[in-house]
Amino acid sequence: MGSDLPEKGLVLLSSWPSMFGIRGVIALEEKGLEYEYREEHLGNKSATLLRLNPIHKKVPVLVHDGRPICESLIILQYIDETWPGADGAPCFLPADPFARSQARFWADFIDKKVYDAGTRLWKMKGEEHAEAKKEFIESMKLLEGELGEKPYFGGETFGFVDIALVSYACWFHTYDVTGGLNMEAELPKLMAWVKRCKERESVSKALPDPLKIYDFLLSLKKRYGIE
């Protein structure tokens, strides 16, 4: 089987609405790395994707010099460790082991709680929907509390948890609509943080238009027959 991947360099297989793929874009842009972006259509996954991620068959997959790395948070750490900060440029994860453990904890929390509750906001109805709404807001409030008065989750510098969460920002409008929420009103500090992050070129480049995300969801629901 011929390889359609370059022998050297970076390729990111992703899907534009995927918050996990968006993380990869932000990380690569933050490091100023050259890479090829390949769009995957998740209803029709490429042979390359299935070969590179046979177990999960998911995006994103980062390919570096022909070798695949899967799972977005693992990709973030790989990028950070392979291209560490030089000339004073900070790394995504802080230097102190305890601070690192906290960053990993909250990034993991985001994927366990926010993703799950957020998905249930548009999938579920009735009691399950109410439950999802409660869990979603609770989780986001916990994160807002963790941010506190800091400009970023990473403190003075944009880092691991910032990338992990801001990738969801394009989905907030969708969560508002499907969840009957007003995140701007309920989570003012967090939404201010989103604005701050969007001032970074890497983030504004990576985040699609929230309205397009909502349209995407509508077409997804139609395709899978979800009311």
Partner: protein, 232 residues
């Protein structure tokens, strides 16, 4: 021995996740105090130190709590750096080790656990098939990651060894309860040999539960869970 810097592990003898923290500390030759968690009800200490999940293990170091077993293992590796590296040195090898540890926790183990709650032969057969498919993947991963060495970590016991090895007592219990041979020496020779090697390690021996004791505990736990689910 590293000087005691007020290191504590809050946990319980039967938890594979707690075992991970203890194995890592043992590898680093760090003295620690083991605090047995009461569980039912959960202690004040647990609720205070892990308010988000309220789960064991919690590692305490210099008064700081660290939660989530794999995060704890990485913390231990990054804090005590002069002895026995746990994560591989190369970033790509690290990514692969992290990938398989996540696979074990998020995909494989949840499948294996379904066996005890399965009610029909059909359900059991599906779980068994998925379990074996996973073991096959891990047998292959052992060869890729281990690069000819005795461990997933190569020449020394590492992150992925800890991640999978901590489940071995529970795997043995599942084998006894189900009659399935999960670590079949004929089908999975590398993993089977590795499992024996892992359990014989000094850093592991004292914290690996005895299969019979765990079997008794598991039977009681499953009975409770089945009673609770049929009472709904």
């Amino acid at each position: 021995m590293a000087e005691s810097e007020d290191v504590k592990v809050l946990g319980a003898w039967m938890s594979p996740f707690v075992m991970r923290a203890r194995i890592a500390l043992n590898l680093k030759k760090v003295d620690y105090e083991f605090i047995a968690e009461t569980m039912h009800p959960k202690s004040e200490l647990l609720l205070k130190s892990n308010p988000v999940y309220k789960k064991i293990p919690v590692l305490f170091h210099k008064g700081n709590p660290i939660c989530e077993s794999l995060i704890i293992v990485q913390y231990i590796d990054e804090t005590w750096t002069s002895v026995h590296p746990i994560l591989p040195a190369d970033p790509y090898d690290r990514a692969i080790a992290r990938f398989w540890a996540a696979y074990i926790d998020d995909t494989w183990n949840p499948e294996v656990r379904k066996y005890s709650m399965a009610n029909t032969d059909e359900e059991r057969a599906v779980v068994a098939e998925k379990t074996f498919a996973g073991v096959q993947l891990l047998e292959e991963a052992f060869q890729t990651c281990g690069k000819g060495g005795n461990w997933f970590g190569g020449d020394a016991l590492g992150y992925l060894d800890i991640a999978l090895g901590s489940y071995l007592a529970w795997i043995r219990v599942t084998e006894k309860m189900s009659g399935l041979k999960i670590l079949d020496g004929d089908k999975f020779p590398q993993l089977t040999a590795w499992a024996d090697r892992f359990c014989a390690e000094e850093a592991v021996k004292g914290v690996m539960p005895e299969t019979d004791k765990l079997l008794e505990f598991a039977a009681a736990m499953i009975a409770r869970m089945k009673a609770a689910s049929s009472a709904k």
